[in-house]
């Protein structure tokens, strides 16, 4: 029991993923600034933002809405993101859970933050938040099938193994999946799915700040918004780590390999940031057809290649 609480709150759980995610989100902002020839924020900027929202600012409740659900939704988002982080990071750090089938659980846990944002924004009663949450729903409908196909392809490639631990072990004993043709295709699919799950720029229609002024987060202020920021930081670390675990062979934690593990995560985040900085926001219709037609096609081609052993 005490060990489980330690897992949830301290080491692979809340404290660790939140700190790592906040540092990665600083990295994202700094790279964005360097791409635009700016200097960028200081290293501890995400922590200043979080503690300012949590400790200093007032939390305003919407007048025409449901305050209970409005305040509970960010807590659920943090919970879902942290649980997904624990399930992904325990196998990555070679701590065996003995849980056969955690890939399916991770898939469901990763959707909890998006669903809580939708519930919270609909509970606020703001029309712009309603527009944002309807866009978020359409975005979920478009990328979720692709994400499921990605996980199905990984399961087939690993030889019908449903747990992350054996997926990582198979890659570490053989070669990482990304060194094959199907692996490269799956990596492209995975990067775009992660981009849409994080709602980064080509897919940021739910919170388009110049268009519907932050959309789903428009009514959040103070500590409720701090919880949303925390969930966003956690997802910023957890999703690239999941991609590293699925395709790049996970982490090895001895000697120089620790540096190599950190570089894998930073490289994935760098790729996400560069995609975010070189693309404009697309319309929701374009996002749906992008995932439904092109990314699904790519994933199906990868599955066919896996069947023939490439």
């Amino acid at each position: 029991m005490a060990l489980n609480l330690l897992y949830f709150f301290v080491f692979p759980g809340l404290l660790f993923v939140a700190t790592a995610g906040a540092l990665l989100s600083w990295f994202d902002r700094k790279i964005t600034a360097r791409v635009q020839f700016r200097k960028g924020p200081p290293l501890l900027q995400p922590f200043y933002d979080f503690f300012k929202l949590l400790l200093v600012k007032e939390t305003i409740l919407p007048k025409h809405g449901s305050p209970f659900i409005f305040l509970l939704a960010p807590v659920f988002a943090v919970f879902g993101a942290t649980m997904a982080g624990v399930f992904i990071l325990l196998p990555l750090f070679n701590i065996s859970t003995g849980f056969k089938g955690d890939l399916i659980v991770i898939f469901y846990l990763l959707t909890i933050p998006s669903f809580s944002y939708i519930t919270g924004s609909l509970a606020s009663g703001n029309p712009l938040a309603a527009v944002g949450s309807s866009r978020e729903m359409k975005l979920i409908l478009s990328y979720e099938l692709t994400f499921l196909l990605l996980i199905a392809a990984i399961i087939m490639k690993a030889g019908q193994k449903f747990d992350l631990n054996s997926v990582i072990t198979i890659q570490q004993e053989g070669t990482p999946f990304i060194r094959s043709i199907s692996g490269v295709l799956l990596f492209i699919v995975g990067i775009f799915c992660v981009q849409a799950k994080l709602a980064l720029v080509p897919f940021d229609m739910p919170e388009a700040e110049t268009e519907i002024s932050e959309g789903i987060f428009i009514e959040y202020s103070g500590s409720a918004y701090a919880m949303i920021k925390l969930a966003k930081y956690i997802m910023f670390f957890v999703l690239p780590a999941f991609l590293v675990a699925l395709l790049m062979g996970g982490f090895r934690l001895e000697g120089i390999n620790i540096l190599w593990a950190v570089l894998k995560i930073i490289g994935t985040v760098l790729l996400l940031t560069l995609i975010r900085n070189t693309n404009p926001r697309i319309k929701i219709k374009q996002a749906v057809s992008f995932f439904m037609i092109w990314m699904n096609l790519l994933a199906v081609i990868a599955i066919v290649l896996i069947v023939f052993g490439y």
């Binding site: 902002r29 600034a33 635009q36 020839f37 700016r38 200097k39 960028g40 924020p41 200081p42 501890l44 900027q45 922590f47 200043y48 933002d49 503690f51 300012k52 400790l55 200093v56 600012k57 007032e58 939390t59 305003i60 700040e209 110049t210 002024s213 932050e214 987060f217 428009i218 009514e219 959040y220 202020s221 103070g222 918004y225």
Partner: protein
Amino acid sequence: MGFKDYCFRKSLWVFHFGGASCNNCDIEILDCLTPRHDLERFGILLVGSVRHADVLLVNGSINMRDKDRLLEIYNQAPKPILVVAIGACGCTGGIFAEGITFAGPVDKIIPVDAYIPGCPPKPEAIIAGIVKLAGRK
């Protein structure tokens, strides 16, 4: 200065309210966020919703129609909020001070924490004003 104040002044998020402005101050405010001046190195971001704002930038002369909207925005902002009046029109009324639709400079409507005069103020002046505001207390 405690931990809370330190975090607050290191991360000021700005919401921009344009009254009946001639647009020169708006352009100079946007200049502050461009690569040449880069306010993000002080942790300052431009946000889209007033619920996330820590600083309310008000520029332009406030006429009778703007007055209600400015009050509404100010009441909707989460406290503590700092108000900055930018430009001659925001500080005193400028050349519109004796117009028939003029509803008083910003500080007659809501409490103002900093004044940045100029017509329009240079981006350097705006940055100097905001940094002084952040270093106050």
